[in-house]
Amino acid sequence: MPRSIPSGMKFWQQKVDALPAAEIVKMYEAGYAGVWDDPAEKEKLHSLIRSDGGVVKGHEAAHANGWADSGKGKLIATWTHVEKCFPGCWPGAAQERGDCVSHGQKNANMTTVACEIIAAKPDEATGKVEGIPEIPTAGITEGAFSSEWLYWWRGYNGDGWSCQASAQVSIKHGMMLKMSYPELGIDLTNYSGSLAGKYGSRSPPAEMDAVGKQHLIRTATELETFEEVRDFLANGYGEQSCGSEGYASSRDENGVSRRRGSWAHSMAYIGADDRAETHAKYGGPLVLIMNSWGKWNSGPRAVLNAPGLQIPEGSFWTPWSDCKNRYVVAMSSAAGWPRKTLPDYLAPGL
Protein backbone atom coordinates (compact mmCIF):
# COMPACT_ATOMS: atom_id res chain seq x y z
CA MET A 1 0.00 0.00 0.00
CA PRO A 2 1.34 3.47 -0.84
CA ARG A 3 2.40 5.21 2.35
CA SER A 4 3.65 8.71 2.83
CA ILE A 5 5.43 9.34 6.09
CA PRO A 6 6.71 12.81 6.96
CA SER A 7 10.21 13.66 5.89
CA GLY A 8 12.77 12.53 8.46
CA MET A 9 10.48 9.86 9.90
CA LYS A 10 11.11 6.11 9.74
CA PHE A 11 8.75 3.17 9.31
CA TRP A 12 8.04 1.53 12.65
CA GLN A 13 10.46 -1.28 13.54
CA GLN A 14 10.07 -3.29 16.69
CA LYS A 15 11.66 -6.68 17.34
CA VAL A 16 9.34 -7.71 20.17
CA ASP A 17 5.55 -7.61 20.52
CA ALA A 18 5.57 -5.51 23.65
CA LEU A 19 7.62 -2.49 24.59
CA PRO A 20 7.24 -0.56 27.86
CA ALA A 21 5.45 2.76 27.59
CA ALA A 22 8.67 4.74 28.10
CA GLU A 23 10.27 2.94 25.16
CA ILE A 24 7.23 3.55 23.00
CA VAL A 25 7.50 7.29 23.70
CA LYS A 26 11.18 7.18 22.74
CA MET A 27 10.29 5.43 19.49
CA TYR A 28 7.94 8.24 18.53
CA GLU A 29 10.45 10.88 19.58
CA ALA A 30 13.12 9.10 17.53
CA GLY A 31 10.98 9.49 14.42
CA TYR A 32 9.34 6.09 14.07
CA ALA A 33 6.00 6.54 12.36
CA GLY A 34 2.89 5.18 14.01
CA VAL A 35 0.82 6.94 11.35
CA TRP A 36 1.14 7.90 7.75
CA ASP A 37 -0.95 9.70 5.23
CA ASP A 38 -2.43 7.22 2.75
CA PRO A 39 -4.01 8.92 -0.29
CA ALA A 40 -5.38 5.61 -1.59
CA GLU A 41 -7.10 4.87 1.73
CA LYS A 42 -8.41 8.44 1.78
CA GLU A 43 -10.09 7.88 -1.58
CA LYS A 44 -11.54 4.60 -0.35
CA LEU A 45 -12.88 6.34 2.76
CA HIS A 46 -14.49 9.05 0.64
CA SER A 47 -16.09 6.40 -1.58
CA LEU A 48 -17.33 4.47 1.43
CA ILE A 49 -18.81 7.60 3.00
CA ARG A 50 -20.57 8.56 -0.23
CA SER A 51 -21.81 5.03 -0.89
CA ASP A 52 -23.53 5.05 2.50
CA GLY A 53 -25.17 8.38 1.74
CA GLY A 54 -22.82 10.29 4.01
CA VAL A 55 -20.99 13.60 3.58
CA VAL A 56 -17.22 13.73 3.22
CA LYS A 57 -16.70 17.28 4.45
CA GLY A 58 -17.63 18.20 7.99
CA HIS A 59 -18.89 21.71 7.32
CA GLU A 60 -21.47 20.34 4.89
CA ALA A 61 -22.73 17.84 7.49
CA ALA A 62 -22.87 20.51 10.21
CA HIS A 63 -24.84 22.93 8.06
CA ALA A 64 -27.09 20.24 6.64
CA ASN A 65 -28.00 19.12 10.17
CA GLY A 66 -28.45 22.66 11.45
CA TRP A 67 -25.85 22.66 14.19
CA ALA A 68 -23.01 24.63 12.66
CA ASP A 69 -21.75 27.09 15.30
CA SER A 70 -23.70 25.30 18.05
CA GLY A 71 -20.48 25.11 20.08
CA LYS A 72 -19.43 28.70 19.52
CA GLY A 73 -18.04 30.44 22.58
CA LYS A 74 -18.49 27.38 24.80
CA LEU A 75 -16.50 24.86 26.77
CA ILE A 76 -17.27 21.53 25.12
CA ALA A 77 -16.71 18.91 27.83
CA THR A 78 -17.48 15.86 25.70
CA TRP A 79 -15.04 13.73 27.69
CA THR A 80 -17.24 13.92 30.77
CA HIS A 81 -19.91 11.85 29.00
CA VAL A 82 -17.37 9.09 28.40
CA GLU A 83 -16.28 9.22 32.04
CA LYS A 84 -19.90 8.96 33.17
CA CYS A 85 -20.56 5.89 31.06
CA PHE A 86 -17.18 4.19 31.49
CA PRO A 87 -15.60 5.59 34.68
CA GLY A 88 -11.90 4.78 34.83
CA CYS A 89 -11.55 4.02 31.10
CA TRP A 90 -8.92 6.70 30.64
CA PRO A 91 -6.01 6.75 30.18
CA GLY A 92 -6.53 3.05 29.45
CA ALA A 93 -3.75 0.61 28.65
CA ALA A 94 -0.61 2.18 27.25
CA GLN A 95 0.20 1.01 23.73
CA GLU A 96 3.01 -1.55 23.53
CA ARG A 97 3.66 -1.34 19.81
CA GLY A 98 3.14 1.14 16.99
CA ASP A 99 -0.65 0.75 17.08
CA CYS A 100 -1.55 4.30 18.08
CA VAL A 101 -4.06 4.64 15.23
CA SER A 102 -6.18 1.86 16.71
CA HIS A 103 -6.11 3.47 20.16
CA GLY A 104 -7.03 6.89 18.81
CA GLN A 105 -9.78 5.35 16.69
CA LYS A 106 -11.07 3.35 19.65
CA ASN A 107 -11.24 6.48 21.80
CA ALA A 108 -13.10 8.39 19.08
CA ASN A 109 -15.62 5.57 18.59
CA MET A 110 -16.12 5.19 22.34
CA THR A 111 -16.80 8.92 22.64
CA THR A 112 -19.55 8.72 20.02
CA VAL A 113 -21.11 5.70 21.76
CA ALA A 114 -21.02 7.39 25.18
CA CYS A 115 -22.64 10.56 23.86
CA GLU A 116 -25.45 8.57 22.30
CA ILE A 117 -26.03 6.79 25.59
CA ILE A 118 -26.20 10.10 27.45
CA ALA A 119 -28.48 11.64 24.82
CA ALA A 120 -30.87 8.72 25.39
CA LYS A 121 -32.63 9.26 22.08
CA PRO A 122 -33.77 6.32 19.97
CA ASP A 123 -31.11 5.13 17.53
CA GLU A 124 -31.89 6.44 14.07
CA ALA A 125 -31.62 3.02 12.46
CA THR A 126 -32.92 0.63 15.09
CA GLY A 127 -35.34 2.95 16.89
CA LYS A 128 -34.04 1.66 20.21
CA VAL A 129 -32.64 3.73 23.05
CA GLU A 130 -29.11 2.56 23.76
CA GLY A 131 -27.50 1.88 27.10
CA ILE A 132 -24.14 1.22 28.69
CA PRO A 133 -22.71 -2.15 27.63
CA GLU A 134 -21.65 -4.47 30.40
CA ILE A 135 -17.87 -4.45 30.55
CA PRO A 136 -15.87 -5.96 33.45
CA THR A 137 -14.09 -3.42 35.66
CA ALA A 138 -10.72 -4.76 34.52
CA GLY A 139 -11.73 -4.18 30.91
CA ILE A 140 -12.91 -0.64 31.59
CA THR A 141 -9.56 0.18 33.22
CA GLU A 142 -7.84 -1.15 30.09
CA GLY A 143 -9.83 1.25 27.92
CA ALA A 144 -13.35 -0.22 27.80
CA PHE A 145 -13.40 -0.69 24.02
CA SER A 146 -10.98 -2.87 22.08
CA SER A 147 -8.25 -1.20 20.07
CA GLU A 148 -7.00 -4.66 19.06
CA TRP A 149 -10.18 -5.41 17.10
CA LEU A 150 -9.56 -2.40 14.89
CA TYR A 151 -5.82 -3.05 14.50
CA TRP A 152 -6.45 -6.62 13.40
CA TRP A 153 -7.88 -5.28 10.13
CA ARG A 154 -4.81 -3.26 9.05
CA GLY A 155 -3.94 -5.86 6.42
CA TYR A 156 -0.29 -6.51 7.24
CA ASN A 157 1.79 -7.73 10.18
CA GLY A 158 3.94 -4.66 10.72
CA ASP A 159 3.16 -1.54 12.73
CA GLY A 160 1.88 1.86 11.79
CA TRP A 161 -1.38 2.63 10.05
CA SER A 162 -3.52 5.47 8.72
CA CYS A 163 -6.50 7.30 10.20
CA GLN A 164 -8.24 6.98 6.84
CA ALA A 165 -8.02 3.18 7.01
CA SER A 166 -9.00 2.90 10.67
CA ALA A 167 -12.13 4.99 10.06
CA GLN A 168 -13.13 2.56 7.31
CA VAL A 169 -12.59 -0.41 9.61
CA SER A 170 -14.90 1.16 12.20
CA ILE A 171 -17.60 1.52 9.53
CA LYS A 172 -17.10 -1.94 8.00
CA HIS A 173 -16.19 -4.10 11.00
CA GLY A 174 -17.62 -2.23 13.97
CA MET A 175 -16.51 -2.35 17.57
CA MET A 176 -15.76 -4.89 20.24
CA LEU A 177 -15.43 -4.48 23.98
CA LYS A 178 -12.62 -5.21 26.41
CA MET A 179 -14.18 -8.38 27.75
CA SER A 180 -14.08 -12.08 27.18
CA TYR A 181 -15.94 -13.57 24.23
CA PRO A 182 -15.88 -17.27 25.16
CA GLU A 183 -18.06 -18.19 22.22
CA LEU A 184 -15.33 -16.82 19.96
CA GLY A 185 -12.44 -18.25 21.96
CA ILE A 186 -10.97 -14.81 22.59
CA ASP A 187 -10.49 -12.66 25.69
CA LEU A 188 -10.04 -8.95 24.94
CA THR A 189 -10.16 -7.82 28.58
CA ASN A 190 -6.46 -7.06 28.91
CA TYR A 191 -4.54 -5.22 26.22
CA SER A 192 -1.15 -6.46 25.13
CA GLY A 193 1.11 -5.82 22.18
CA SER A 194 1.01 -9.49 21.27
CA LEU A 195 -2.79 -9.56 21.35
CA ALA A 196 -2.87 -6.46 19.18
CA GLY A 197 -0.61 -8.28 16.72
CA LYS A 198 -2.64 -11.52 16.66
CA TYR A 199 -4.05 -10.71 13.23
CA GLY A 200 -2.78 -8.42 10.50
CA SER A 201 -1.96 -9.96 7.14
CA ARG A 202 -4.43 -12.67 8.16
CA SER A 203 -7.86 -11.23 8.96
CA PRO A 204 -9.92 -12.23 11.99
CA PRO A 205 -12.33 -15.11 11.38
CA ALA A 206 -15.82 -14.50 10.03
CA GLU A 207 -17.52 -15.45 13.30
CA MET A 208 -15.65 -12.65 15.10
CA ASP A 209 -16.51 -10.21 12.35
CA ALA A 210 -20.17 -11.13 12.76
CA VAL A 211 -19.99 -9.96 16.38
CA GLY A 212 -18.09 -6.77 15.65
CA LYS A 213 -20.48 -5.90 12.84
CA GLN A 214 -23.37 -5.78 15.27
CA HIS A 215 -21.90 -2.47 16.44
CA LEU A 216 -20.90 -0.51 13.37
CA ILE A 217 -20.05 3.15 13.24
CA ARG A 218 -22.42 4.32 10.54
CA THR A 219 -20.32 6.89 8.72
CA ALA A 220 -17.48 9.37 9.14
CA THR A 221 -16.76 12.95 8.09
CA GLU A 222 -13.48 14.80 7.62
CA LEU A 223 -12.97 18.00 9.61
CA GLU A 224 -10.70 20.86 8.60
CA THR A 225 -11.39 23.85 10.84
CA PHE A 226 -11.56 24.42 14.58
CA GLU A 227 -15.22 25.36 14.22
CA GLU A 228 -15.96 21.94 12.74
CA VAL A 229 -13.91 20.17 15.46
CA ARG A 230 -15.74 22.17 18.12
CA ASP A 231 -19.23 21.69 16.71
CA PHE A 232 -18.91 17.97 16.05
CA LEU A 233 -17.69 17.41 19.62
CA ALA A 234 -20.49 19.62 20.90
CA ASN A 235 -22.99 17.39 19.14
CA GLY A 236 -21.53 14.18 20.51
CA TYR A 237 -19.22 12.91 17.79
CA GLY A 238 -15.81 11.55 18.75
CA GLU A 239 -12.85 12.53 16.62
CA GLN A 240 -9.70 10.73 15.51
CA SER A 241 -6.62 12.69 14.45
CA CYS A 242 -3.33 11.83 12.76
CA GLY A 243 -0.33 14.11 12.36
CA SER A 244 3.31 14.74 13.08
CA GLU A 245 3.12 17.18 15.98
CA GLY A 246 4.78 16.37 19.30
CA TYR A 247 3.78 17.94 22.63
CA ALA A 248 5.39 18.69 25.96
CA SER A 249 4.89 16.12 28.71
CA SER A 250 4.15 18.81 31.29
CA ARG A 251 0.85 20.66 31.51
CA ASP A 252 0.45 24.22 32.74
CA GLU A 253 -1.95 25.28 35.50
CA ASN A 254 -4.89 24.81 33.12
CA GLY A 255 -3.85 21.45 31.70
CA VAL A 256 -2.32 22.96 28.56
CA SER A 257 0.73 21.54 26.78
CA ARG A 258 2.47 23.28 23.89
CA ARG A 259 4.23 21.86 20.87
CA ARG A 260 7.51 20.09 21.44
CA GLY A 261 9.25 17.83 18.99
CA SER A 262 7.61 15.62 16.38
CA TRP A 263 5.66 12.39 16.63
CA ALA A 264 4.04 10.65 13.65
CA HIS A 265 1.17 9.74 15.92
CA SER A 266 -2.59 9.36 16.23
CA MET A 267 -4.66 10.70 19.13
CA ALA A 268 -8.35 11.32 19.71
CA TYR A 269 -9.94 14.73 20.30
CA ILE A 270 -12.31 14.61 23.27
CA GLY A 271 -13.07 18.23 24.13
CA ALA A 272 -12.84 21.81 22.93
CA ASP A 273 -12.72 25.21 24.62
CA ASP A 274 -13.92 28.21 22.65
CA ARG A 275 -14.65 30.55 25.56
CA ALA A 276 -13.65 34.22 25.46
CA GLU A 277 -11.39 33.89 28.52
CA THR A 278 -9.56 31.02 26.85
CA HIS A 279 -8.98 33.07 23.72
CA ALA A 280 -7.74 35.91 25.92
CA LYS A 281 -5.27 33.72 27.81
CA TYR A 282 -4.01 31.45 25.04
CA GLY A 283 -4.55 33.55 21.93
CA GLY A 284 -7.20 31.23 20.57
CA PRO A 285 -9.30 28.16 21.32
CA LEU A 286 -8.03 24.89 22.77
CA VAL A 287 -8.54 21.24 21.83
CA LEU A 288 -8.41 18.42 24.40
CA ILE A 289 -6.31 15.53 23.14
CA MET A 290 -6.35 12.00 24.56
CA ASN A 291 -3.05 10.16 24.17
CA SER A 292 -2.54 6.39 24.34
CA TRP A 293 0.65 6.24 26.41
CA GLY A 294 -0.93 5.70 29.81
CA LYS A 295 0.00 8.28 32.45
CA TRP A 296 2.83 9.67 30.33
CA ASN A 297 2.47 13.31 31.23
CA SER A 298 2.23 15.38 34.38
CA GLY A 299 0.93 18.66 35.69
CA PRO A 300 -2.48 19.98 36.71
CA ARG A 301 -5.53 18.45 35.06
CA ALA A 302 -7.61 21.51 35.72
CA VAL A 303 -9.78 23.37 33.25
CA LEU A 304 -9.53 27.17 33.03
CA ASN A 305 -12.22 28.81 35.18
CA ALA A 306 -14.05 25.51 35.72
CA PRO A 307 -13.44 24.54 39.35
CA GLY A 308 -14.04 20.87 40.05
CA LEU A 309 -13.74 19.87 36.40
CA GLN A 310 -10.69 17.80 35.45
CA ILE A 311 -9.36 16.36 32.24
CA PRO A 312 -8.48 12.65 32.12
CA GLU A 313 -5.05 11.30 32.99
CA GLY A 314 -2.92 11.04 29.88
CA SER A 315 -4.74 13.91 28.12
CA PHE A 316 -3.79 17.53 27.56
CA TRP A 317 -5.22 20.75 26.16
CA THR A 318 -3.38 22.36 23.31
CA PRO A 319 -4.10 25.50 21.29
CA TRP A 320 -5.78 24.91 17.96
CA SER A 321 -2.81 26.70 16.42
CA ASP A 322 -0.62 23.80 17.65
CA CYS A 323 -2.74 21.07 16.07
CA LYS A 324 -4.47 22.76 13.10
CA ASN A 325 -2.53 20.79 10.49
CA ARG A 326 -3.56 17.37 11.74
CA TYR A 327 -5.93 15.15 9.74
CA VAL A 328 -9.21 14.84 11.66
CA VAL A 329 -12.15 12.54 11.07
CA ALA A 330 -15.35 12.54 13.12
CA MET A 331 -17.20 9.29 13.77
CA SER A 332 -20.96 9.45 13.37
CA SER A 333 -23.68 7.56 15.14
CA ALA A 334 -23.01 4.02 16.20
CA ALA A 335 -25.09 0.89 16.45
CA GLY A 336 -24.74 0.71 20.21
CA TRP A 337 -25.85 -1.69 22.89
CA PRO A 338 -29.37 -2.16 24.19
CA ARG A 339 -30.32 -0.19 27.26
CA LYS A 340 -30.38 -2.28 30.40
CA THR A 341 -33.00 -2.22 33.08
CA LEU A 342 -32.30 -2.70 36.75
CA PRO A 343 -34.49 -5.21 38.61
CA ASP A 344 -35.11 -3.01 41.66
CA TYR A 345 -33.30 -1.01 44.35
CA LEU A 346 -33.73 -3.54 47.12
CA ALA A 347 -30.97 -3.54 49.74
CA PRO A 348 -31.02 -6.92 51.48
CA GLY A 349 -29.47 -5.47 54.62
CA LEU A 350 -32.59 -3.41 55.48
Binding site: E83, K84, C85, P87, P343, A347, P348, G349, L350
Partner: protein, 145 residues
Protein backbone atom coordinates in the same frame (compact mmCIF):
# COMPACT_ATOMS: atom_id res chain seq x y z
CA UNK B 1 -59.47 -4.73 37.61
CA UNK B 2 -56.98 -4.72 34.77
CA UNK B 3 -58.20 -6.20 31.47
CA UNK B 4 -55.86 -9.13 31.37
CA UNK B 5 -56.78 -10.12 34.97
CA UNK B 6 -60.26 -10.64 33.56
CA UNK B 7 -58.81 -12.77 30.78
CA UNK B 8 -56.99 -15.04 33.26
CA UNK B 9 -60.10 -15.56 35.38
CA UNK B 10 -62.35 -16.11 32.36
CA UNK B 11 -59.82 -18.50 30.90
CA UNK B 12 -59.62 -20.48 34.12
CA UNK B 13 -63.40 -20.69 34.21
CA UNK B 14 -63.42 -22.11 30.69
CA UNK B 15 -60.66 -24.66 31.37
CA UNK B 16 -62.95 -27.51 32.55
CA UNK B 17 -64.68 -27.46 29.16
CA UNK B 18 -61.50 -28.79 27.51
CA UNK B 19 -60.48 -32.41 27.93
CA UNK B 20 -57.08 -34.19 28.17
CA UNK B 21 -54.22 -32.73 26.18
CA UNK B 22 -56.31 -29.73 25.19
CA UNK B 23 -56.69 -28.80 28.86
CA UNK B 24 -52.98 -29.26 29.54
CA UNK B 25 -52.05 -27.28 26.41
CA UNK B 26 -54.50 -24.51 27.18
CA UNK B 27 -53.26 -24.27 30.78
CA UNK B 28 -49.68 -24.21 29.55
CA UNK B 29 -50.59 -21.25 27.40
CA UNK B 30 -52.26 -19.36 30.25
CA UNK B 31 -50.16 -16.34 31.17
CA UNK B 32 -49.09 -16.01 34.81
CA UNK B 33 -50.97 -13.48 36.92
CA UNK B 34 -49.51 -9.98 36.87
CA UNK B 35 -47.65 -8.98 40.03
CA UNK B 36 -49.52 -6.43 42.06
CA UNK B 37 -47.27 -3.43 42.39
CA UNK B 38 -48.16 -1.39 45.45
CA UNK B 39 -47.70 2.33 45.44
CA UNK B 40 -44.89 3.79 47.59
CA UNK B 41 -45.51 3.35 51.30
CA UNK B 42 -46.33 6.65 52.89
CA UNK B 43 -45.32 6.09 56.49
CA UNK B 44 -41.79 4.81 56.94
CA UNK B 45 -41.79 5.68 60.64
CA UNK B 46 -44.54 3.13 61.23
CA UNK B 47 -42.44 0.40 59.62
CA UNK B 48 -39.32 1.00 61.71
CA UNK B 49 -40.80 0.68 65.18
CA UNK B 50 -37.52 0.83 67.12
CA UNK B 51 -36.52 4.45 67.83
CA UNK B 52 -32.84 3.58 67.95
CA UNK B 53 -33.01 1.87 64.57
CA UNK B 54 -34.90 4.83 63.13
CA UNK B 55 -32.16 7.20 64.28
CA UNK B 56 -29.44 5.08 62.70
CA UNK B 57 -31.27 4.61 59.40
CA UNK B 58 -32.33 8.25 59.23
CA UNK B 59 -28.73 9.35 59.75
CA UNK B 60 -27.55 6.86 57.14
CA UNK B 61 -29.88 8.11 54.43
CA UNK B 62 -29.14 11.73 55.28
CA UNK B 63 -25.42 11.06 54.94
CA UNK B 64 -25.94 9.06 51.76
CA UNK B 65 -27.87 11.95 50.23
CA UNK B 66 -25.08 14.33 51.15
CA UNK B 67 -22.36 12.07 49.73
CA UNK B 68 -24.28 11.58 46.52
CA UNK B 69 -24.86 15.31 46.16
CA UNK B 70 -21.13 16.04 46.42
CA UNK B 71 -19.93 13.09 44.34
CA UNK B 72 -18.81 13.67 40.77
CA UNK B 73 -16.72 10.67 39.85
CA UNK B 74 -17.71 7.53 41.75
CA UNK B 75 -21.44 6.96 41.45
CA UNK B 76 -21.76 7.76 37.79
CA UNK B 77 -24.58 5.44 36.75
CA UNK B 78 -27.84 4.33 38.33
CA UNK B 79 -26.53 0.77 38.26
CA UNK B 80 -23.49 1.90 40.24
CA UNK B 81 -25.77 3.63 42.75
CA UNK B 82 -27.76 0.41 43.15
CA UNK B 83 -24.56 -1.53 43.90
CA UNK B 84 -23.25 1.13 46.31
CA UNK B 85 -26.62 1.26 48.10
CA UNK B 86 -26.63 -2.50 48.66
CA UNK B 87 -23.03 -2.49 49.92
CA UNK B 88 -23.47 0.54 52.14
CA UNK B 89 -26.60 -0.87 53.81
CA UNK B 90 -24.79 -4.19 54.28
CA UNK B 91 -21.87 -2.44 55.94
CA UNK B 92 -24.18 -0.37 58.13
CA UNK B 93 -26.27 -3.27 59.39
CA UNK B 94 -23.89 -6.23 59.33
CA UNK B 95 -23.18 -7.81 62.72
CA UNK B 96 -26.21 -6.04 64.19
CA UNK B 97 -29.76 -7.18 64.84
CA UNK B 98 -30.90 -4.63 62.28
CA UNK B 99 -29.69 -6.77 59.41
CA UNK B 100 -32.70 -7.79 57.30
CA UNK B 101 -35.04 -6.74 60.09
CA UNK B 102 -37.29 -4.46 58.02
CA UNK B 103 -38.34 -6.10 54.73
CA UNK B 104 -41.19 -3.63 54.38
CA UNK B 105 -38.72 -0.74 54.62
CA UNK B 106 -36.49 -2.48 52.09
CA UNK B 107 -39.39 -2.55 49.64
CA UNK B 108 -40.56 0.94 50.47
CA UNK B 109 -37.12 2.46 49.89
CA UNK B 110 -36.81 0.60 46.59
CA UNK B 111 -40.28 1.78 45.53
CA UNK B 112 -39.45 5.41 46.41
CA UNK B 113 -36.28 5.31 44.35
CA UNK B 114 -38.00 3.64 41.40
CA UNK B 115 -40.76 6.25 41.54
CA UNK B 116 -38.13 9.00 41.42
CA UNK B 117 -35.69 7.75 38.79
CA UNK B 118 -37.14 4.62 37.22
CA UNK B 119 -35.29 1.38 36.54
CA UNK B 120 -33.14 2.43 33.62
CA UNK B 121 -29.48 1.51 34.08
CA UNK B 122 -28.00 4.63 32.68
CA UNK B 123 -25.71 7.53 33.29
CA UNK B 124 -26.25 9.60 36.42
CA UNK B 125 -26.93 12.97 34.87
CA UNK B 126 -27.53 16.06 36.96
CA UNK B 127 -31.31 15.71 36.95
CA UNK B 128 -31.22 12.05 37.98
CA UNK B 129 -28.71 12.78 40.72
CA UNK B 130 -30.84 15.63 42.06
CA UNK B 131 -33.97 13.44 42.17
CA UNK B 132 -32.07 10.68 43.92
CA UNK B 133 -30.57 13.05 46.47
CA UNK B 134 -34.04 14.46 47.21
CA UNK B 135 -35.49 10.96 47.55
CA UNK B 136 -32.82 9.80 49.99
CA UNK B 137 -33.07 13.02 51.96
CA UNK B 138 -36.85 12.57 52.07
CA UNK B 139 -36.45 9.03 53.41
CA UNK B 140 -34.07 10.33 56.09
CA UNK B 141 -36.49 13.05 57.12
CA UNK B 142 -39.42 10.68 57.36
CA UNK B 143 -37.55 8.24 59.50
CA UNK B 144 -36.36 11.05 61.73
CA UNK B 145 -39.96 12.07 62.27
Amino acid sequence: MKPWHWFAIAGAALAPLYLGIGVIAWKAMQPPPAPVVPGPVSNLKAIVTDAGDRAVLSGFYADFADVLKRDTATVTTTGAFRAWHIKAVDLLNQQTNRYGKYPALRQAVSDRIVAAIGLNDGAMDAATRAKLVDTLAGIAKELEG
